[in-house]
């Protein structure tokens, strides 16, 4: 309990929630958690801060829920794919705030963690509040839920959907790099993974969505013992990657454009853009396969 109070103090500037206690409107959160190690702690924190929090822990309740779009933030933390509702397993547009797990082997143990803030109020968009929320959730999960472990038959799906906000970058990317390291898949430091993720994040918010908070960014990470796959998608018009100038050409040495894409290609083992150019998928192979 004392530790949770410290988290509250750290991220909201006071034990009782600091400036977030004076929220003009009450935000609604939904937490879907099948093992209760995230939901009870976060609920306690957020209720104390004046938020309305609903928690769901079983399949039937999640499937039956109709008004998922009414929530400002939906947090899902499911430990076992067999207990993930069918609606969640399918790519169903109506349940876009729920994790998408996709096809998997019966022998695989699949975890799914997602923060979806696409329902976050845009009329009075408060980026600082959103940033504090993400920091709180991710720090809580990293500190009290996530464990250091080697994944053998485990796949972990991590997703974030949120309004374009650069200030979320540190907490989101910090969580992701630490998580793949905790799972024993990639050494985030030596692999320079953080630079590729930084570039992809900034490109999605800055070049893709033009900093427009009405548009969302989607980050999807699939971690398996063999590799980690990162997908960044924005709602911009996209671009033709073939038209980016080659920064190695002496004529382009002083142009900033194109450097990031080249660096991503150097760091990652596989890089692919969709045809429109608004979705980037990058794969980093595990450097620790032998030790698993």
């Amino acid at each position: 309990m004392q530790q949770r109070k410290m988290v509250c103090r750290k991220f909201f500037g006071g034990e009782s929630g600091g400036n977030l206690k004076t929220l003009k409107m009450q935000r609604k959160f939904l937490i879907i958690d099948d093992h209760d190690d995230l939901s009870s702690g976060l609920k306690e924190l957020f209720v104390k801060l004046g938020y309305s929090v609903i928690t769901i822990e079983n399949r039937d309740e999640a499937v039956a829920l109709q008004e998922i779009d009414d929530f400002d933030v939906v947090i899902t933390d499911l430990d076992n794919v067999d207990r993930i509702p069918e609606a969640v397993q399918n790519d169903d547009e109506d349940d876009s705030c729920l994790p998408e797990v996709g096809a998997h082997k019966a022998s695989e143990h699949i975890r799914a963690f997602k923060i979806c803030a696409t329902g976050f109020d845009r009329e009075n968009f408060d980026e600082t509040e959103l940033k504090n929320l993400f920091e709180t959730i991710l720090n809580y999960k990293a500190k009290y839920v996530d464990e250091v472990e080697k994944i053998k038959n485990l796949r972990e799906k991590i997703e974030f959907e949120f309004p374009s906000a650069l200030s979320l970058m540190h907490s989101v990317l910090n969580y992701l790099t630490k998580r793949v390291e905790k799972l024993g898949v990639i050494d985030a430091e030596d692999s320079h993974l953080f630079i590729a993720l930084d570039e992809a994040f900034v490109n999605a918010v800055k070049h893709g969505n033009q900093f427009n908070p009405e548009k969302n960014v989607r980050i999807s990470v699939d971690v398996s013992p063999k590799e980690a796959s990162f997908t960044f998608e924005d709602e911009g018009e996209g671009f033709d990657v073939a038209k980016i100038p080659d920064p190695r050409d002496p004529e382009n040495l002083f142009k900033a454009s194109g450097r990031g894409v080249l660096i991503i290609h150097n760091i990652m083992d596989a890089v692919q853009y969709n045809e429109r150019g608004n979705r980037l998928t990058m794969v980093k192979k595990s450097d620790k396969i032998e030790s698993i």
């Binding site: 650069l166 970058m169 540190h170 030596d190 320079h192 900033a256």
Partner: protein, 189 residues
């Protein structure tokens, strides 16, 4: 000023592995360096009194904050990894640690580069102080580390260097943030 760092950019672009090898062979690139701190513990009066022009045109000197813990970070908008450290410093800034002053300084000096830096500060919603100083200021700090690359961060307290961080990575950023938290806690005990 860009030409000074051109070799670093080319290294990053053409041979990322080489850059990694270069930085790895000197472990001081990754963490605050005790030996460097022993060699150059004092920041000269000249540096402390050099004018830094902030993006809002306000003028400051490090000496203005002699009782504070200063985190001086050299960043620029055209270095991708500079964004990583800026983002971490942004988080440190929101912690509102008592007597901690974060100052980002661009080593650029042309008008267009400084306009780009201003835009970078605006786009990234950098709320801590940021600006630029003269070439000598940058060069003197880079001479301490013998490393002409960006980003570089210096933690200064009472006119003395308490931490030097060359480059950026999640671990470097965490070390920097933890050092500042520790010094702040000690100072406010």
């Amino acid at each position: 000023m860009k030409t000074i760092y051109l070799s670093l950019i080319i290294l990053i672009l053409l041979s990322f592995q080489n850059l990694h090898a270069q930085t790895s062979e000197n472990s001081s690139v990754k963490m605050s360096d005790e030996n460097l701190l022993k060699k150059s513990p004092e920041v000269s009066e000249e540096l402390l009194n050099t004018e830094i022009v902030l993006t809002n045109d306000e003028k400051i000197k490090l000496a203005d904050y002699k009782n504070d813990i200063i985190v001086l970070c050299f960043v620029t908008e055209w270095v991708i990894s500079a964004r990583t450290i800026t983002s971490a410093l942004g988080e440190l800034h929101t912690e509102n640690l008592k007597n901690v002053r974060i100052i980002a300084v661009s080593p650029d000096d042309t008008k267009s580069e400084l306009q780009n830096f201003k835009k970078f500060v605006k786009d990234f919603k950098i709320e801590f102080q940021s600006g630029w100083a003269n070439k000598k200021f940058t060069n003197e700090f880079f001479n301490i580390t013998k490393f002409r690359g960006i980003p570089q961060s210096f933690v200064i307290k009472d006119g003395k260097l308490r931490g030097i961080f060359r480059g950026t990575s999640p671990k470097i950023n965490e070390s920097l943030m933890n050092l500042v938290r520790k010094i702040s806690a000690e100072a406010n005990r």
